[in-house]
């Protein structure tokens, strides 16, 4: 069955590009920008499909796909400056990548290699949070530090609808509001926390309205509309950057695939519901818009797909070429310098 509360939400939320590709008032990005966002979403989806396939081949550990959520992730990241902070989750590979994190490292992480968490120097994107909820307050601390240091960097944290039930969500929201930190809270409400539907997760009508409880603005946006997400996150980023404090954004979207490669969605949701959401595919509506504007051709799309496939293949090769991690590396990563007990253990393993 259709996820009722989302139904209601869709009525009130900001959409700039309708599911059929028609444009609504307020769309302010150029055609060229739209083409770039489209290209990014194609690349992200290519990555997602590749990872699903690799996991089935046993080349990756558990993988959490984001198919269906590309607009929310690419749109949000596109609103950031390259030096802004990002604290995101296991499902946010597209967001992290668009914020500058290399595909190769994201893949390395999924092969089960801690080196995948080592962002390139200068890039302020944290390794993805695997625990649900704990990382939001980090974005508050990061933003707070930047503000205290007089920088105008902001911190964006992305999380799911399920994460809003954790006590840490509450503490993070409250601290951000109390200290007016430049933090953007991006909730990708994809309808489920594993099998648990959004309308059981909380009885509030929306997640965005929870912002009121902290004296913080809350905004609800069509999470499958890359332009709307870019706009709304852009406004929140601008508020944050100018010292006006945090914003909570609820991007209403849907996870088309399973929770992770270990999950079986048939146990908790209907094919129909998923089918319904496929008609709201975030790539499709941009394609329709572009096509109508004469800026999309099957050839261009094929070219994008081919280029993306190459890029992802290269990233896979790079990740898989990482030499096998040694035990000594494992022991040496715990502190700046191995402590006494660890030095003794390094001796024990003969390193």
């Amino acid at each position: 069955m259709w996820n009722r509360p989302v139904d209601k939400l869709i009525a009130g939320m900001l959409t700039l590009i309708s599911p059929d590709g028609t444009v609504r008032d307020g769309l302010s990005i150029t055609l060229e920008e739209t083409r770039e966002l489209y290209a990014d979403m194609v690349e992200a989806r290519t990555y997602d499909h590749k990872c699903m396939a690799m996991q089935r081949q046993g080349r990756l550990a558990t993988y959490a796909p984001f198919e269906g959520q590309e607009a929310a992730q690419i749109g949000a990241a596109a609103a950031l400056r390259p030096d802004d902070w990002v604290a995101a989750t296991y499902r946010d590979a597209a967001l992290m990548w668009r914020a500058g994190y290399p595909w190769a490292l994201l893949i390395a992480g999924r092969t089960g290699d801690e080196r995948g968490g080592q962002a390139p120097d200068g890039l302020n994107v944290l390794p993805p949070s695997i625990t649900v909820g704990g990382h939001m307050i980090h974005a508050v601390g990061l933003a707070w530090a930047e503000a205290l240091n007089g920088s105008d960097r902001v911190a964006l944290t992305s999380f799911g609808d399920g994460a809003t039930s954790e006590g840490d969500f509450h503490e993070a929201m409250n601290f951000a509001a109390v200290y007016t930190t430049p933090t953007v809270f991006l909730c990708q409400n994809n309808g489920f926390a594993i099998s648990y539907p959004r309308d059981e997760q909380t009885r509030s009508e929306s997640i965005a309205m929870k912002a009121d409880a902290y004296g913080m603005p809350g905004v609800i946006v069509d999470g499958n509309d890359v332009a709307a997400v870019l706009t709304v996150v852009g406004e929140a980023v601008a508020r944050a950057r100018s010292g006006e404090g945090p914003t909570l954004i609820e991007a209403v979207t849907y996870r088309l695939g399973p929770h992770t490669t270990s999950d079986d969605p048939a146990r908790y949701r209907d094919e129909d519901e998923t089918g319904e959401w496929r008609t709201r595919d975030p790539l499709e509506r941009v394609r329709a818009l572009l096509e109508r504007a004469g800026a999309w051709t099957p050839e261009w799309h094929a070219e994008l797909e081919a280029r993306s496939a190459d890029v992802i293949e290269e990233a896979v090769a790079e990740a898989e070429a990482l030499p096998r991690p040694t035990a000594a590396e494992m022991l040496s990563r715990m502190y700046a310098q191995p402590t006494g007990p660890l030095r003794a253990q390094l001796d024990e393993i003969g390193a």
Binding site: A61, T62, E114, S165, E200, P325
Partner: protein, 325 residues
């Protein structure tokens, strides 16, 4: 009797508890619709109803705290936390509330509840999904900590935990869920919380372990026996209260002990085992009690897992050095 995996035995025990005691309710993330990430509660919501088996919001402190309230009010809640690495948000509820209510109310209010948690590594899982922090729970007065390693113990200990008048943290070795099969009775029976299980008797050396590490320890014992040593293997199966007398008796007999656990060595539960043994039978010890454990690191991701986990080889080597000392 039927042949069951550890996972099946747990599922069966929960069904039996729901069947025989109407005070029993289950709650946890995804345990209803999907039967939980490891399917331990599979089918129970369909069979026993939505008012016995509850899916919950993603909020571990809430799950434990609500179960605690239910227990005080006379129910027998069995809460599931998805992985031991996600039990920490509930640590305050467990240590400050669940484990203390009997003490602070002088027996007037009690918390007869079970917190079930899959634990341990070895399946190449994501970060935080392979924790073995049993020591931080075994140190909490007022709580009991149980770890079955066989299907029949799983059933007996889980039913005992649900019956227990005090709160029990019930750790389930992920790696063994489907790795072991055994004939398990379908009758209602309990396995006493406290006494360890002698997995194998021997004279020359004692190997002490629990949870999934029993598998490696068993393999090591096999190799050692082949080389001519007579090996005793103890499965602690209750970590709190720890079976001091059982441990000490075996140590006194063999004079040589190796403790094996997955958790980091420093301040792990192996330290307590070593401390007890030297305290009570120092003069019977023919060699130091050795600890084969995880290194003092975070449990690593898939590609480094083999570097971290005690292997039969490491156990054999430590045992041989202990036998030679």
């Amino acid at each position: 009797m039927s042949e069951q995996t550890l996972a099946q035995a747990l599922n069966g025990a929960l069904a039996t508890a729901l069947e025989t005691d109407e005070r029993v309710v289950l709650l946890g993330e995804d345990i209803g619709r999907t039967g939980g990430v490891f399917r331990i509660t599979d089918g129970l919501r369909a069979k026993y109803g939505e008012d016995r088996v509850f899916d919950t919001p993603v909020a571990e402190s809430g799950i434990v705290g609500a179960a605690f309230g239910m227990a005080i009010a006379g129910m027998r809640p069995v809460a599931e936390l998805q992985f031991l690495g996600f039990s920490y948000p509930a640590y305050d509820q467990i240590i400050n509330h669940v484990a203390r209510i009997r003490n602070r109310s002088n027996h007037r209010f009690t918390a007869p509840m079970v917190i079930r948690v899959p634990y341990g590594g070895g399946i190449g899982a994501a970060e935080h999904h392979s924790e073995s922090t049993e020591a931080i729970y075994a140190h909490i007065p007022g709580l009991k900590v149980v770890v079955p390693s066989t299907p029949s113990d799983a059933r007996g200990l889980l039913l005992a935990a649900i019956e227990d008048p005090d709160p029990v943290l019930f750790l389930e070795p992920i790696r063994l869920y489907r790795a072991v099969k055994e004939e398990v009775s379908e009758l209602y029976y309990t396995t006493e919380i406290g006494p360890m299980r002698v997995e194998r008797e021997g004279r020359d050396i004692t190997l002490i372990s629990w949870g999934a590490m029993i598998k490696e320890t068993r393999a090591a014992a096999g190799q050692l026996e082949e080389k001519g040593a007579s090996v005793e293997v103890l499965d602690l199966r209750t970590l709190s209260p720890i079976d001091q007398d059982g441990i000490v008796a075996s140590a006194a007999k063999t004079g040589r002990v190796v403790v094996v656990h997955e958790a980091p060595r420093t301040a792990g539960l192996g330290a307590e085992v070593a401390a007890i043994i030297q305290e009570r039978v120092l003069y019977s010890l023919l060699a130091p009690v050795r600890r084969v454990a995880g290194w003092d690191t975070v449990f690593p991701l898939k590609r480094s897992e083999a570097h971290y986990l005690p292997s039969p080889d490491r156990i054999v080597r430590a045992a041989e050095e202990t036998l030679e000392a």
